[in-house]
Amino acid sequence: MRELLSMVFIGIGLGFDLLGCLGLVRFPDVYNRLQAATKCVTFGTCSILFGTFLILGFTSAGIKCLLALVFIVLTSPTASHALARASHKAGVRLWERSVCDEYSNSSK
């Protein structure tokens, strides 16, 4: 039963990882790619780690899985935020069909 539940979690995580990286290929500019990749890959890897914790139980490796999960949830949005800000300041344009850009209006 526990193994079946953990297999379900790992399957969901693998699907979201695949879709996130497909979004990295298909989307048109850096900011949209960051959206798809950060959300889907973070959630997918967290799901895989939780399934691994369910299989291994409260052993040393299982608890390290939980710590890695908390670490990824805290750090991955921070990294994507830093990257978005840096690429906007380095002059990477938005997609040409974008609607509005309030940030470049306000910073100049």
Partner: protein, 164 residues
Amino acid sequence: MRSKIILFVLGFLVWCLLSWPTDGQHVLVGIVVSGLVAYFTGDLFTRRPHLFKHVTRYLWFFYYLLVFGWECFKANIDVAIRVIHPYKPLNPGIIKATTSLKNDIALTFLANSITLTPGTLTVDVDKAGGFLYVHWIDVKTKDTEKATKIIVERFEKILRKIFE
């Protein structure tokens, strides 16, 4: 001083979890290492240590985790549909939203939870003016106040009760 004690307890807890079947040697080394770290860098950890005593903040934090998990799941479904759709239903843009939070930790949590919720990504935080610049994958409104009501408010209410 109280800040150092809180950092010591947290560091010792993480050490015990990392070396999970803890025996005497691990506990001894953990006490020495987390004591040294807390002695040198403890004052940087928190400026208002009396907030750690309130029980209701922990309950609100638990409620925040539930809301955040549900929003994160919805966000993933949304992005996955956009990825496998043949015509890529994108309508992106960067909009401006306001926030009334002033605390550093609260702003960090707000920015992180905006990044992991449906269709939004925080680009920059202007702390002095209280502005957030948010990249939105499907812009519904360009107006600042309406965007604030849609994006920011559902987390801001909970985070104010936790951190302010």
